[in-house]
Each structure stands twice: as structure tokens, then as C-alpha cells.
């Protein structure tokens, strides 16, 4: 009686086999239809054939920014589901994703019993979502970067090979790109500096546990949860060259303040003022919660050895905060490379190109200059930069210190 496996039903059962065969056939059908549609343009419900060049031309002439042209006959409410279906059919990728889902399910059905399939069904919606809105866009981004797509609607596109990358690296794009990258790196450097140094200093200042201090901590911490866009509007007014309160305050000390956001050399500083207001409180809270975790015995031992306050900070607090610093470094680094909201609201990348950070440039390329393909090429490079930086910091962080868990 050691092995009772023969008592269990053989797997896959007949039902599972049949179901998986059906799913295989369905998936083959869907994927074939979808890939054909993806390669040929897109399926259109009215004609049930790939959209021809003339339809593309008509769309381009119509310049429909918002809605693809679908049924022209107005049938009232009946068109609502019809339009929905047509919208789905317009996206060949949706069909392909359906096919992939069927395929995966068919394989999974053959591998494991129904009880385990139920667990798999739990994660499936999320996975489909990630395929649709995270992984497919990355692939499509690369595809778009090889075409001459202009506007962000179904436009006639042609495959033009590496021309966009050529523009980016060897033609006029390079000056803009390098400029933009340098601005982003400058912003990132200063945001990191403000977050780490400012946050640590504030954590030392607010490291006292009573009611008054916890109220003040809440105040310092709050800006993080106010929308960046809204606080940016407030800071535009505070930083206004002639009527802003900051320049008035500076004038009390006899300093003539610059026209912060409309002056090329101070615009980035103006944005960084908003950033400092937003992020230091957060960094402070993270540092503080880590400081609470440092055992008190260490400080007592150091005090017995005759260490003064600065030395206790230097030899106990700072090393013990190394993992926290690393966490803040990595998260802040990635977030500040992607900075967009504050720049977009406060300067829109201007004046000139003084604050044209990478994401702002990508945005302007596709929504202002209508060069979607070029912006896709820049996005691909930006994505690679982000990935390399993330991987590098992760590797570096794995190797570096962490004293105890």
C-alpha cells in the first residue's frame, strides 16, 4: 500500500483532453487571425477584411484624433455594442491575446487537475492585463520605432528600418537627446541629493517622540500626498518673478530674486524647489522609521566607550541606515529619471529647452510635433537606460552592506 497513485484517476482525464483540444484549435484560429490582422493593418468589422490603404487615407483626411471612423449609419443605441465590438476588432492584438490565453489554458489543462486550474484562474485576469498594457506596448513600441508613424491614431505607416534611430544618434536628434539626457541627470542628481541629505537632516531634527513632534512630522510629510500638478500650480504663483512671495522674501534680505521659471538658468532650480518641498518629508519618515529599528544597546555601549553625539551618529546611525539609504536611492533615482508632472505644469520643458527632461521631450515629440515614431525610438532608448540603471543599482545593492535583517 505504499503507492496509492493507481487509485487516483489517470490525468489528464478524458474531459480535460477534449477541452484542451478545443482550446488548441481556438487558439490557433485566434492567433492566426490576429497575427494576419496585425501584419496587414487591422481588421475592420464592416468589411471583415484588413483595412485598405484607402480607408487609411480617408482616416488621415478626416484627421480623427479621437474616434476611429466606424459605422456611418446611425442606428441609435444598437451601435453601442457594435462600436465596442468594432473597437476590439480594430486591435488585432486583442485577438492575439485571446489566442494566447486559450493556448496557455490548453497547455495548463493537460498538466494539472481542475483544482489547481482554479488557482491559475485567480491570477489569469491580472496576467492578461499585464500582457495587454505592459508587455505588448513594449513590443509595439519597438515596432512603431521602425515605422514612420506620425500621429497617435491609425495612420498609414510604412516600415522605414532604422531611420528613426539614425535621426536620433547621427542627425539633429542627437543634440536634443544629449541635452535632454544631461538635464534629466542634473535633475536626478539634485533630487537624490535633496532626498538623501535633506531627509537625513530632517530625520535627526524630528527624532523626538511626543505629540507635538508627531504633529509637526505629519505637516512635513503631507506634501507628498498632494497632487504634484496642483502643488506645481501653487508654486508657479509662489515663484512668480514680479509678484511671487519668494522673491519678495528675498528682497527683504536685499537679494533681487530671478524670474525663476521663465529664466533659462533658474527654471530647473524652481522645479527643484517644488521637489524639495515634496520629497524631503517622505525621506525623513523612511529614515525615522529605520532609526527606530536601531537597537538602543548600541548607543549605550558607545556612550560607555565615551563616544559623543556626532561619533554615535557617524559610527552607529549612519552604517545602520545604509540599507534604508540604498532603498531611498534606488526608488528616488528611478522616479526622478521619469519626472514629468512638475515640469509639464511649471515650464512645459521651457524656457527654450532649459527644462526639457526626457519624458517631457518624448511627450512633446508625439503630442506636439506629431512624430510618434521618433518619440517611440527615444522611448526605447530611454527604457534601455532605465533598465540598465535599475539592474546596475540592484546588483550593486546586493553586493553592498546590510548589517542585520
Amino acid at each position: 500500500m505504499r503507492n496509492q497513485n493507481h487509485l487516483a484517476k489517470p490525468y489528464p482525464t478524458k474531459g480535460a483532453r477534449a477541452a484542451s483540444v478545443v482550446l488548441f484549435i481556438l487558439s490557433a484560429l485566434f492567433i492566426a487571425v490576429g497575427v494576419y490582422g496585425w501584419l496587414m493593418g487591422d481588421w475592420n468589422l464592416e468589411s471583415l477584411r484588413p483595412i485598405s490603404a484607402q480607408v487609411y487615407e480617408a482616416r488621415r483626411i478626416a484627421r480623427s484624433f479621437e474616434q476611429p471612423i466606424t459605422g456611418t449609419v446611425d442606428l441609435g443605441w444598437i451601435t453601442v455594442p457594435l462600436r465596442f465590438l468594432s473597437g476590439i476588432m480594430n486591435n488585432a492584438i486583442l485577438i492575439i491575446i485571446f489566442g494566447i490565453t486559450f493556448l496557455v489554458n490548453a497547455i495548463m489543462l493537460r498538466l494539472q487537475p481542475w483544482e489547481r486550474m482554479k488557482d491559475f484562474f485567480c491570477v489569469q485576469p491580472a496576467l492578461i492585463f499585464f500582457l495587454l498594457f505592459v508587455y505588448y506596448p513594449v513590443i509595439d513600441l519597438v515596432r512603431i520605432s521602425f515605422t514612420d508613424m506620425r500621429m497617435l491614431v491609425a495612420d498609414p505607416q510604412e516600415f522605414i528600418g532604422l531611420k528613426n534611430y539614425e535621426w536620433l544618434f547621427f542627425r539633429t536628434g542627437w543634440t536634443r537627446f544629449s541635452e535632454s539626457l544631461i538635464i534629466t541627470i542634473r535633475y536626478t542628481f539634485w533630487e537624490l541629493f535633496i532626498t538623501l541629505v535633506g531627509g537625513l537632516l530632517l530625520a535627526l531634527l524630528y527624532n523626538r517622540m511626543n505629540k507635538a513632534f508627531s504633529a509637526m512630522r505629519a505637516v512635513v510629510f503631507m506634501p507628498r500626498y498632494i497632487a504634484v500638478a496642483t502643488s506645481a500650480v501653487v508654486f508657479i504663483w509662489i515663484l512668480h518673478g514680479n509678484y511671487g512671495i519668494l522673491n519678495y522674501a528675498l528682497s527683504l534680505f536685499g537679494i533681487r530674486g530671478p524670474k525663476w521659471l521663465t529664466q533659462a538658468d533658474t527654471a530647473l532650480m524652481g522645479i527643484l524647489i517644488l521637489t524639495a518641498w515634496r520629497v524631503t518629508g517622505y525621506a525623513m519618515m523612511i529614515y525615522l522609521s529605520a532609526m527606530q529599528g536601531i537597537p538602543k544597546d548600541y548607543y549605550e555601549a558607545a556612550a560607555i566607550d565615551g563616544a559623543d553625539g556626532v561619533q554615535r551618529f557617524r559610527y552607529i546611525t549612519l552604517p545602520m541606515l545604509a540599507p534604508t539609504t540604498l532603498f531611498l536611492f534606488v526608488t528616488t533615482f528611478i522616479a526622478s529619471m521619469k519626472v514629468f508632472q512638475s515640469v509639464d505644469v511649471m515650464t512645459g520643458g521651457g524656457p527654450g529647452t532649459a527644462t526639457n527632461v526626457l519624458v517631457q521631450w518624448i511627450y512633446n515629440l508625439s503630442f506636439r510635433d506629431f512624430r510618434a515614431a521618433r518619440s517611440a525610438a527615444v522611448s526605447v532608448i530611454f527604457f534601455i537606460i532605465l533598465l540598465v540603471c535599475t539592474a546596475a543599482t540592484m546588483r550593486w545593492s546586493n553586493r553592498s552592506v546590510s548589517y542585520d535583517s
Partner: protein
Amino acid sequence: MQDTLLLRMRQTGMFEVLTLVLVIALAFLFLGLVGVIQYNVQMNNMPEGLTAFEIRESLGYFASSRGTFLTWGWILLAAAAVGFVILAIASHYRDKVSYATKKRLRKAGVVLQYLGALFIALIVLFPIYWMVVSSLKTSEELLLPVPTLWPNEFQWQNFPNVWKRAPFVRYFVNTLITTFFIMLGELTLGVLAAFGFAKGNFKGRDAMFVLVLGALMVPIQVTFVPIYVMMSRLGWINSYQGLIVPNLVSAYFIFMMRQSFKAVDDSYLDAGRIDGLGRIGLIFHVLMPMTAPTLVTVSIITFISGWNSYFWPRMVSTRDEWRTIAVGVARLRQTFAGMEVANYNEIMAGAVMAIIPIVVLFLVLQKYILTGMSKAAMK
């Protein structure tokens, strides 16, 4: 005697700090010197007849920023010098001060800490205060050469005025609907997925979880072009679907919930199964109550980030009636076509209305937000 003073100074922690400041100061002065040399070399080789702007543009990095380096170098050098003098005096008297004086000094330090903390808290609070005050001023009062810290007379009509100028009701409704459905989606789909990844048992589970972790690496700032194309083909630009669907599942949420579900012991689930609970029952009656703090925290953060989101709503809403509140307030300036300086009272009124819900929520639910945040940092 000189030697013992130096020794005593070197025993204090401040000595290291001051040495660091000194080194930084010297480095800055060196860079400034490099800048001065570069400046002189470049100015000697400068062709004739250039304008001041062209000269400034053609200078190298060190040459053009030599002033900054030199200024900061001198400031830091002075600070280090002053610090060393103070340290010398202090370490000379260190062992001679009485216990009572030390106690008094410590008290003074505490008072200083209170004052400093209060000062910084007031500075951080100031923009919010200034926003509220500006929203209650007249246009004339806004443009006074000496700004008033308190409005002469409360101008409550700024609020209805801005309400009339932009479809604020619509903004609020859009934001509420969008945020509600995003929260609903993230909660249901996220909790289900987290359950599957934490407690489920199917082939390829860990490989599939890598897909979730990978999704954390792909920001929407990179992929918005294809997503926008997809939305426009679906005809979802300027619609609730367009605002909601691309944010329906969050990898971060799944990751956090999976961590906390994993912490729940399997024996609880077995007990639930014996009592006849299915998967949904287990999630509702066992896992969710046991991880309630995390769940609440993550939901609050989801709500706040949904309310504040700007990037995607800005892309997908090209018409005024589909904007969310964050985008609407940011675009408010454009409605004043160049006249916004005199109308900042109304713009600020809009901003006040936009942040009131978040500030209230933050103050009420502060505790949850804080615990959740420190948990996130521990991971």
C-alpha cells in the same frame, strides 16, 4: 600644550565633520581655480566681435561656473575655519564646565530642536497657507508691491467664479468615478492574483510571478505611445473606459498583498477549508481580515494616487469635460490666455478645492499611511 589641544579636538566627532567640510572647500576652490585658468585661456583665444551672449555661450563648463565654485569654496572654507575655532574653544573648556551647566546646555539644545522643527514645519506649511490666502484676495490685492499676509477682505466669490469658468463639477465627478473603478479593479483583481501567487499551487506559478515583477519595471512614461494608439483604435479617448482600464491592475498592489498573504500560516486556510470555504470564502473570511491593516493602507495609497494621477489622464482627455481634477486645475491657467497673473486668486481657489479631499483624508488616515509606508521601506 598645543599638542594636547589638537589631540582633544581629534577625539570629538565634530573634528571629522569639519575636516570633511575643509576637504570639500578645498576641492571647490581647486575647481574654481581650474575654471579661472580655463576662462583666461578661452578669453585670450576668443575671436573678435562676439556679443556678450555669444562669449558666454562659448565658454566651457568650468569657465562659466567658476564663480559658483569659488563662492561656495570660500563659504565652506570660512565655515570650516569658524568651526575649528569654536571646536578648539569648546574642547578646551569641555572638562571644566560643571554638571549644572551641561544640563542647562542640553536643555538649550532641546529648545533649539523644538524651534528648528517648528520653523521647518511652518516653512513646509507655508505654500498651503499661501494658496488659501491668495484664493481669498482680490485681483488688485494680489498685485500689490508688498504682499499682504492676510487678505484685507475675504473674497469668497472667487470660488463660485472659478466654478463657472471651468466645469469643476464634471472634474470632480470624473475623478470620483475613475478613482472608484480603479480601486475596485485593483482590489478585486489584485487580491485574487495575490491569493493565486501566495497560496495557489499551479504549474509555472513562480515563472508567472516574474511577469508581475517585470511589470514593475515598465513605467507608463515609456509605453504611453502604444497604449494611446490602442485606446484611440478602441475609440476610448475621452471616455471613462480610457481613463480607467489602463490602470485597472497594479503590479505594486499584487506584490504587496502577496507578501502579506504569504505571512498568513497555511493552517488557517486548512481550517477554513475543513469548514467548507471555497477560494473566495477563504479570501473574504480568512485572508482579508488577517491582513486588514496592509489592505487598508494599500487601498488608501491607491485611492490617493488615483485621485492625484496626472500623466495618463492628461494624455487621454483632450476635451475639457473628460479631465480629472488634477489635470483640470493644471490646465486652468490656460483658460486665462495670458491674463493669469491677475487671476491667480481664482486659480488658487481651484487648487484649494482640488486638495481639500486629500488633505482631509491624509489627516484622518495618517496612521495607516505611515505604517504602510514604513512597511514598504522594509521590503
